[in-house]
């Protein structure tokens, strides 16, 4: 394989990896918004928190796989706590209050992270199984990134099965379209909300652990990746998983090839893409009219 093709392919896989991470975060954000109408601006902070939990578990046990299981669960626990203690009590006062509250939560998480783990970049080592490089037809590529893509696809498949093949998924889909009616049919909506919020933050947690070895863990992580994930949800359309998936991949590719060809202007490409999409379709690519 000649170097140019190899470069294109490896940049492409880079982009897809980042797109997958974005999708994991964006899908959680999307489910929470689609179902509960809450724009969770602390979502990226949970993502970052999970990275720190991963670091902590690694310090305690030294096993990446335990971290991959435990850290997202702890993150989800915090998410559920937030939903129970704060969000469920103020839902009567409209969505703006919830939004501002999550801004407060994001600030608190950022401050706490700085207190507990400091402000330095914490490197997370790639698990030994995936530490090496793999050679695909002459292209040498780190195995770990391929693993991330595979894992994200696995989570996506799991989510789709859950949503479209189980009773819980049916309830969730029904509640997205008419929450009051589902409630009237005798289904415990507050409980469903709690589970949904938990699952959403769990997804952010999985993404946080997955990206930790690639980007290292640092307090600015939430801002850096969170904004991109938020833009993905906005561009793809709120409440649309398909939209989030497609736009995640587009953004991943845009940012990796953008860095390759325009270097400085890559962020402009992404934001410009969002602006153009929103001008044509104000509710996002796959969003539904309000």
């Amino acid at each position: 394989m000649d170097p140019t093709t190899a470069m294109y392919i490896s940049q492409g896989i880079h982009g897809i990896t980042y797109g997958m991470i974005l999708f994991l975060i964006a899908s959680g954000l999307n489910i929470i918004f689609g179902m509960m109408g809450i724009l969770n601006l602390a979502h990226a902070s949970f993502f970052m928190l999970s990275g720190y939990f991963c670091h902590q578990v690694l310090v305690l046990t030294g096993n990446f796989w335990i971290a991959l299981i435990v850290a997202p669960l702890f993150t989800a626990l915090f998410g559920i706590l937030l939903e129970r203690v704060c969000l469920s009590r103020i839902s009567a006062f409209g969505h703006l209050g919830e939004l501002i509250l999550t801004v407060g939560v994001a600030q608190v998480i950022l401050a706490l992270v700085k207190i507990f783990w400091g402000t330095e970049n914490i490197p997370i080592s790639v698990p030994p199984v995936f530490a090496g490089m793999v050679s695909i037809g002459g292209l040498v590529y780190p195995v770990y990134r391929l693993f991330v893509i595979g894992m994200a696809l696995g989570v996506l498949a799991f989510m789709l099965l859950l949503l479209y093949k189980t009773r819980v998924g049916k309830i969730v889909r029904a509640a997205v379209s008419d929450r009051d009616m589902v409630n009237a049919l005798g289904i415990n909506i507050p409980l469903v909300f709690m589970i949904i919020f938990g699952v959403g933050t769990w997804l952010a947690g999985v993404a946080g652990v997955a990206i930790a070895p690639i980007l290292t863990v640092f307090p600015g992580l939430a801002d850096q990746v969170g904004m991109d994930a938020f833009i993905v949800v906005v561009t793809g359309g709120f409440g649309s998983l398909t939209g989030a998936f497609i736009v995640s991949i587009i953004f991943g590719l845009l940012s990796s090839f953008g860095v390759q060809f325009f270097s400085q202007l890559a962020p402009v490409l992404i934001v410009g893409f969002m602006a153009v999409v929103l001008i044509i379709r104000p509710n996002g690519l796959f969003g539904v009219e309000e």
């Binding site: 801004v103 600030q107 401050a111 833009i231 709120f238």
Partner: protein
């Protein structure tokens, strides 16, 4: 309630306090007050959209930043520029930006409006970061000349390195802006605005033009945010992407409006004041401003969801009810 003389006395006392403020409290608190006034105007301009017309913008900082950058660029590059025209250029630049955007954004409302602004706000932010040769990138434009305030060559008042003089200039500009916005909410046009927030369809049936009204409010709101940004840039002698255009700058007025109370004109001003005071006190004891501010925000939203003015109104109503019950009991005995 308050009669006319009382009101007059109140305003005169307020004016006197403002005039003698730098003498009374010293330079540190003077600067603090300028910063408060800038963000108060910014928050009130956002409230024109959010509280009075029901449009939430996640990108109001783009007007704030545009005002700041325009003023800074004008002072840096145009020879013989004086202060007031520079602020005027900031105002005009933000106004033009709002005029360009308004045909696009007035068609939508609700979440779509907020998201569209997020997009444009981020676009402006990224552009300001990347076009280094114009905007200075991450460093922003700093240390641009601030000329003296000049009235037709007759009187010249030094501005640079003279915070007290700058305080008076800022007070006049921001005070006039606040008064204009307040005046606008009292006009019939202001009533249509509130009408659009409460029931846009009905206003449409009554024969008022909803998109056009929204556009006018939008342009006015943007232009005043531009003034606030322009004065902010002059005050710090620095305009930077993170300080004037970032997403966090957009959240400052939103939180101020929420904390102060939406839909009341003075709510955002209270909100800004509360945040400034808390920040000031917290900084005395700890560097963890984020933690305390975040907790405050959570607590305020949870326990006073209608903001400060809402809290005051509730307490007032409770007090009136209590007083009524007591006077009733006294009559009986």
């Amino acid at each position: 309630m308050m009669n006319k003389t009382m009101k007059m006395v109140f305003w005169i006392v307020l004016l006197l306090i403002l005039v003698f403020y730098p003498r009374l409290f010293g330079i540190y608190y003077t600067n603090l007050f300028v910063s408060f006034a800038v963000f108060a105007v910014f928050a009130v301009s956002l409230n024109m959209l959010l509280g009075y017309t029901g449009l939430l913008s996640f990108g109001h900082a783009m007007f704030f930043g545009t005002g700041g950058y325009a003023t800074a660029l004008a002072l840096k590059h145009i020879q013989g520029m004086t202060v007031l025209p520079a602020v005027g250029i900031g105002f005009l630049a933000a106004m033009i930006l709002a005029l360009v955007l308004c045909p696009l954004v007035v068609r939508v409302s609700g979440t779509a409006f907020a998201m569209l602004h997020l997009a444009f706000g981020q676009l402006m932010y990224v552009l300001a970061l990347k076009f280094r040769n114009i905007t200075g990138g991450e460093d922003g434009i700093g240390n641009f000349p601030i000329p003296d305030l000049n009235f037709f060559g007759v009187i010249s008042i030094g501005m640079k390195g003279n915070p007290v003089n700058f305080y008076y200039l800022a007070m006049v500009i921001l005070g006039v802006s606040l008064w204009l916005m307040w005046f606008l909410t009292k006009t019939p046009f202001g009533q249509i605005q509130t009408g659009i927030r409460d029931n846009a369809k009905r206003i449409d049936y009554l024969g008022y033009k909803v998109p056009q009204t929204k556009a006018v409010v939008y342009v006015i709101s943007g232009a005043f945010a531009g003034i606030a940004g322009s004065v902010y840039g002059l005050f710090h002698n620095l305009v930077s992407a993170d300080g004037s255009l970032g997403i966090l700058v957009s959240f400052v007025p939103i939180t101020a409006v929420m904390v102060g109370g939406m839909g009341s004109f003075f709510g955002p001003i209270w909100g800004t004041a509360i945040f400034q005071i808390i920040e000031e006190i917290v900084l005395r004891f700890t560097d963890r401003v984020e933690l305390v501010m975040g907790l405050m925000l959570i607590l305020i939203i949870m326990f006073a969801p209608r903001g400060f003015t809402g809290l005051v109104n509730t307490l007032k109503m409770k007090w009136q009810a209590y007083a009524a019950v007591r006077s009733g009991m006294e009559k009986k005995t």
